[in-house]
Amino acid sequence: MAAPEQRRIIFQHIDAPGYSNDLACYVKHGGYEILKKAVAMPPAAIIDEVKKSGLRGRGGAGFGCGLKWSLVDRKSGKPIYLVVNADESEPGTFKDRYIIHQDPHQLIEGIMVTCWANNVKQAYIYIRGEMPHGARILEQAIAEARAANFVGPNILGTSYSCEIYVHRGAGAYICGEETGLIESLEGKRPYPRIKPPYFPAVLGLYQCPTIVNNVETLCHVKHIVDMGGDNYAKIGTPNNTGTRILCVSGHVQRPGYYEYEVGKITMGQLLNEVCGGPLPGRKFKAVIPGGSSSKILRFGETFTLKNKDGSSRTLTIEDIPMDFDTLAACGTMGGSGGVIVMDDSVNMVEALANLNAFYAHESCGQCTPCREGSLWMKKITTRMVHANARAEDGQLLKSVADQIAGRTVCAFGEACSWPTQSFVAKFGDEFKAYPETKKQSKNGDALELV
């Protein structure tokens, strides 16, 4: 079946000729009309629309956005904060970058609609440190929006006031984790907080109720208010509504970002048609579907899933629709939408060694299983590649990984052990054969991964 057309809602103006990131251009394209519509609606009505829309967070966990907002403690008498997660640090993910650089007002409008709906008077955009231009563009855009009365005191002639400030990170992946991010925003080391009791919706920034949402999620909010929650819910597939941006990188002919209705395109259509298939003379070997932390899939494997009526169906990787629920049923996740593709030139031990070096570098060090485990997984895979490898190393790696997940304050524990667990489970043969593989390889132009 031919791949469907892209449905560009969030990326409508990305790379469009003549579109610039200033306020005048945004307003010319209908910008801030939805904020005007929003401030004429009761806040609770907006939250209802977002609930009806079925929007799920685009930052990684896919948590219901309306549900998240309804968990906010509104009786505490404390201010409610919105924190925009623009840390974009999950390897394989590169979508928020384009919104921030090319269409910052779309984000600002989404933020202001969200703030109005949740009675937030202060929002912070936490942008990763390695996007200095992005931070400047956002500051400039906020200043423009403030001058035009879309942000700041008494917006659009109402009695409602709300400020947005930009806060820069400084190169630590763990700041993408929402409670680590909050600690960082408080000026501390980003050690994630334990939940319970520190659910951001109750005890977040400055121990006040706080909403943390991803950049793309907040852009969707704007369009939900525009078209209404019910209409938005018709886009995509049930329980996996709307569009989402898929970021494809690695070994395909046309890597890049593509926006599709959730679940309307399969992995096979995405990789073979949209991205042009494997590089010349190569075959796909493996794919990580939702950012580096999601579990890897091996081309050739099949998944037998239960249908609602009790019957079952069998899918190949190519058959998997790119939605949250099917990917989860296949033992992995939609995560952040970062699809990393590897072809048959890649040795899986070496690819894992690359990722293990990332996680060992990024563990915050707070929990012993994660700090020590991520380091040992890195040491083992690096030794396998650069010194002596043993046939039983796969099992050793698995035993380390199995002692991390579920034993840490935050989900980094899962994030760092899932690659090792899934690589060893799916490519155990390659781990066993690695000592032999090394003896036979000529070490000439081989792709270096670690």
């Binding site: 390897p91 400084a170 690695g250 915050c364 270096e448 991964l449």
Partner: protein
């Protein structure tokens, strides 16, 4: 501490963004590092005094976040992405090219013998679709294969000569 008037002004403005002064630590450190190149002991004490904190509160931040550095580095900062998508497209070779061109080793505090560059191998820069990617100072460069790395190195050398 000898900060430019514009930096001092920016710092005073930044502090007003937060109901709790301590929150401004990262933004102040960025402002200072952009002005003077690194975070010295006096800078740590200055920030602590400015935000009514103990120096340890600032020190623990500086030593955690990879982007803050305790000593000066090369005049130009070359960050090559090391993570998987870039590595799959030859990122390790790209890094090697820069190392060779400037006769240095990648490392957060290594400086080339001429003092011109620091080459650092960093983690994912969120531009994996245009791998391998490199940041030179604040500028992102995409699809930097060995040939392009050589070209960028030549450019840096030419700019250095003009100085």
């Amino acid at each position: 501490m000898n900060l430019k008037p514009a930096t001092l002004q920016r710092i005073d403005e930044l502090i007003t963004h937060y109901p709790v002064k301590r929150s401004a630590v990262l933004m102040l450190l960025h402002a200072i590092q952009e002005d003077v190149g690194y975070i010295s002991d006096p800078a740590i004490e200055w920030v602590a005094a400015k935000l009514e904190l103990q120096p340890i509160n600032v020190y623990e931040v500086v030593t955690f976040y990879p982007m803050f550095r305790r000593q000066p580095i090369g005049r130009r900062h070359i960050k090559v992405c090391r993570t998987l998508s870039c590595a799959l497209m030859g990122g390790y070779k790209t890094c090697e090219t820069f190392e060779k061109e400037f006769n240095t080793h990648a490392g957060p505090t290594e400086v080339s013998p001429d003092g011109e560059v620091t080459v650092e191998f960093v983690e994912c820069l969120a531009s994996c679709g245009t791998a391998p990617v490199v940041m030179i100072d604040d500028e992102l460069h995409e699809k930097v294969d060995c040939a392009k790395a050589k070209q960028l190195s030549d450019q840096i050398k030419t700019e250095a000569k003009k100085r």
